[in-house]
């Protein structure tokens, strides 16, 4: 099988699995225990934390179970800790459900949410953001790279816009970390990362942040500075640190992306959904009058794995909220498929995809 669904999840690296296994065998003690084995596990945990802080250039890191938990902690944590200062939060309508559904819950608690609209390329307007800012705004939460179509939000500009105000910036970098570097001047107040999108393990993630007040959302033994109770999984933490260290941008992605764009543009009734400026590892295309599922199973018959717009929204019947938001025309919006590259993607995989698509296209048209 040729796996081109790396934005849904990735294959763990051998090195990461080795780390996970070794840590489970040798450092299985509870890092909060006072004995020597506990000390060693704690030592390893803190080394993993240091490494992640250094790579992300952030001051604090809390280990979580993944992107969704990190996003929940960021939103509820900031909202609950700052409610006396204001109850207004700004985000965008194309965020991940982990953000959108958390915001819905916060709305029930009395917070006011503004979701910025996006244009056909999935881009927000900085003017609209500027106008949305109020005296009681406490947080802006934006993803760095959109998981369905690859649109890059202008974090540098957003950060510059918020400079000097007390509005905090949270960036969900699940799809960008290890692939797109955030420039130092765009360093957010909070940053979400996930292990399994960078050839790490499912069940591992982190919320990184720079000095700020955060309220806990999970209560118990007070681990992770009291912000995320529960025995810390040192093997997952070490595996995350390793996956992050090994993650690096692949210059071939841009080349393959261009190659596929010109390939798909030759087909009648095929539209490229991802904007030209999108991140190069995600390419969404749509076929007129065809359902996305049919494309997915057609390509699968040729041993190529892609997905409909996103794994999270592909199981519900409705069109994805991202595709709705960018206003893709009626005849295309049900026919979106997403191709996403990973560290193990090769030149040959791209060639196979092309062949498989040619066959599938012939069959369905």
């Amino acid at each position: 099988m040729i796996y081109l669904d790396n934005s849904a999840t990735t294959k763990p690296r051998k090195e990461v699995l080795e780390t996970f296994l070794k840590v489970n065998e040798q450092y299985y003690a509870n890092p909060a225990s006072l004995h020597q084995m506990g000390n060693e596990a704690e030592d390893l945990l803190e080394n993993a934390r240091q490494q992640i802080k250094r790579i992300l250039n952030m001051k604090n890191v809390i280990f979580t179970s993944g992107g969704t938990e990190s996003n929940n902690l960021a939103l509820f944590g900031v909202a609950h800790a700052n409610r006396q200062r204001g109850k207004h939060i700004i985000s965008s309508e194309t965020e991940h459900p982990a953000i959108l559904n958390s915001l819905k819950e916060l709305e029930k608690e009395g917070f006011e949410i503004t979701l910025l609209k996006v244009n056909g390329a999935g881009e927000i307007s900085l003017d609209e953001l500027k106008n949305a800012l109020r005296n009681d705004t406490i947080l802006v939460s934006l993803m760095h790279v959109n998981n369905e179509i690859g649109t890059i939000h202008p974090i540098v500009e957003v950060k510059a816009l918020l400079k000097g105000s007390r509005v905090l910036l949270h960036v969900d970098a699940v799809q960008s970390v290890g692939k797109l570097q955030l420039s130092p001047e765009a360093t957010p107040d909070l940053l979400t990362i996930s292990g399994h999108k960078i050839h790490g393990l499912k069940g591992s993630g982190a919320l990184a942040f720079n000095q700020l007040e955060l309220a806990a959302v999970q209560f118990g033994g007070g681990q992770e500075f009291g912000l995320r109770s529960g025995t810390v999984s040192v093997p997952h933490a070490a595996a995350l640190a390793k996956a992050l260290r090994l993650a690096e941008p692949n210059p071939a992605f841009a080349k393959w992306n261009q190659e596929l764009r010109s390939f798909f543009s030759e087909f009648h009734g095929v539209k490229i959904v991802s904007p030209e400026t999108a991140a190069s590892h995600i390419l969404a295309v749509a076929v007129k009058g065809i359902k996305g599922e049919i494309l997915v199973s057609g390509l699968q018959a040729e041993s190529v794995i892609v997905s409909t717009s996103s794994a999270c929204s592909s199981k519900s019947k409705d069109t994805s909220h991202v595709i709705e938001a960018i206003g893709l025309s009626r005849e295309y919006k049900d026919g979106v498929m997403r191709i996403s590259f990973g560290a193990f993607t090769t030149e040959e995989d791209i060639a196979s995809l092309k062949e498989a698509f040619k066959k599938t296209y012939k069959l369905i048209k």
Binding site: T19, L44, A241, K242
Partner: protein, 400 residues
């Protein structure tokens, strides 16, 4: 273009006449020792300035972080080396100025064209570089006399060297210029601060810590290691003497009444410190005692404790109040370590009602029934000596 060296200015030290060269040598050795954990570093001392070289960006970051704490340095500047072309110098100039706070500041370029083969005249270089900096940073205004920011461009045979940022140093005299003393380091908030005050006066430190396993655990020891590491960042390395104290402490407990054990325990510590002082050729004992803070820190207690030694006992915090001490601890980065919740040997065996006014004769009377000398000798002999800063070993390298 790379920032691969730091120019260090001596300041106060320059006026010290005949002692000058020994002070410079001292500072150079201190810097070498302090950065012993960073392999890439070279130090070159000249009569009126010193250079620190490294090719590792990570190590450079470490130096810039630690150097402001080193006593004996007035100020220092990162130096950026670049190729011998006008374009390279322009780019480097912009990068160098970009790192400085420029709002409302005045600016000038100063060129030293030591390399006479460089095919541009001094004035031309000044103008080209100056105008490209001003184009990029319109917030700057030119002022030739006493500008806030002076960009120095040194054109030599092997490259051009640029600097502009001037970072304040800690001032004072190099550690070691004021002799050596032994600090009693407990793990609490006060003793590291006491040590810091003496370092500021140029006193080099030896550290002594009393360790009572299994009543105190490895994390308590780790805490003291971390404090020692911090104290080794002010201009000289330090040795930590870890004294195995359990047996002696238990013996004291057996021999003297409960309300005197504390005084007696401290007398034992002082006796041990006196022996280590002699062995390390230190000239005084330093403690973090502050009058009235706890039962052992009344004048009566100090008398009873002090009676066992003839060495000067320096107590730089004796009249400081707790808030002042905490403020300093936070400033020097020891506070967060000191408040970690692990027992040290003073907090265990603490009697419910320690005597705040112990009588020396009584204490001596109770101690009289056995000889503690042998246990004291043993403790000193069996001590563990660790040098700080410790080389960082990354034993998890293959895992992470």
């Amino acid at each position: 273009m790379k920032t691969n060296q730091i120019l260090v200015r001596y300041g106060e030290l320059s006026t010290k006449g005949k002692n000058r060269s020994s002070f410079i040598g001292r500072l150079r050795d201190n810097i070498r020792q302090m950065f012993a954990d960073l392999d890439s570093i070279r130090v070159k001392a000249e009569r009126d300035r010193m250079f620190i070289f490294t090719d590792s960006e990570e190590d450079m970051q470490q130096i810039l972080e630690r150097l402001p704490k080193v006593f004996g340095i007035q100020s220092f500047s990162p130096v950026t080396e670049t190729a011998l072309t006008i374009e390279a110098m322009q780019a480097a100039a912009i990068a160098v100025v970009d790192k400085i706070n420029r709002e409302g500041k005045t600016f000038k370029v100063n060129v030293n064209r030591a390399n006479k083969d460089f095919p541009h005249e001094k004035l031309e270089i000044m103008q080209t570089i100056g105008s490209s900096v001003l184009r990029n940073f319109p917030e700057l205004t030119v002022q030739m006399k006493k500008p806030d920011i002076e960009l120095k461009v040194d054109i030599r045979e092997n490259g051009a060297f640029l600097m502009a940022e001037v970072i304040q140093g800690a001032g004072g005299l190099p550690v070691g210029a004021g002799g050596k003393a032994l600090l009693m380091l407990s793990g609490g908030i006060d003793s590291p601060v006491a040590g810091y005050h003496m370092l500021k006066r140029g006193v080099r430190l030896e550290l002594i810590h009393f360790f009572s396993p299994p009543f105190t655990n490895d994390r308590a020891k780790e805490k003291v290691f971390d404090l020692a590491e911090k104290l080794s960042h002010f201009g000289s390395s330090v040795n930590l003497h870890v004294i195995p104290f359990t047996e002696l402490q238990l013996e004291v407990h057996k021999q003297v009444p409960d309300n005197i054990t504390m005084t007696s325990t401290r007398r034992m510590m002082m006796k041990i410190a006196d022996l280590v002082l002699a062995e390390t050729k230190s000239q005084a004992i330093i403690t973090g005692e502050s009058l009235g803070q706890v039962a052992s820190q009344t004048l009566e207690s100090l008398n009873a404790i002090n009676a066992v030694t003839h060495s000067p006992v320096l107590r730089p915090l004796i009249a400081a109040d707790k808030l002042e001490i905490i403020e300093t601890a936070q400033k020097i980065g020891t506070y967060d370590i000191s408040i970690r919740p692990f027992e040290d040997c003073c907090t265990i065996f603490t009697p419910a009602n320690p005597k705040t006014k112990p009588k020396l004769e009584k204490v001596e009377y109770y101690e009289n029934f056995v000889s503690f000398d042998e246990l004291i000798q043993q403790a000193v002999q069996n001590r563990e000596i660790i040098k700080f800063p410790r080389k960082k070993e990354n034993k998890f390298e293959d895992l992470l």
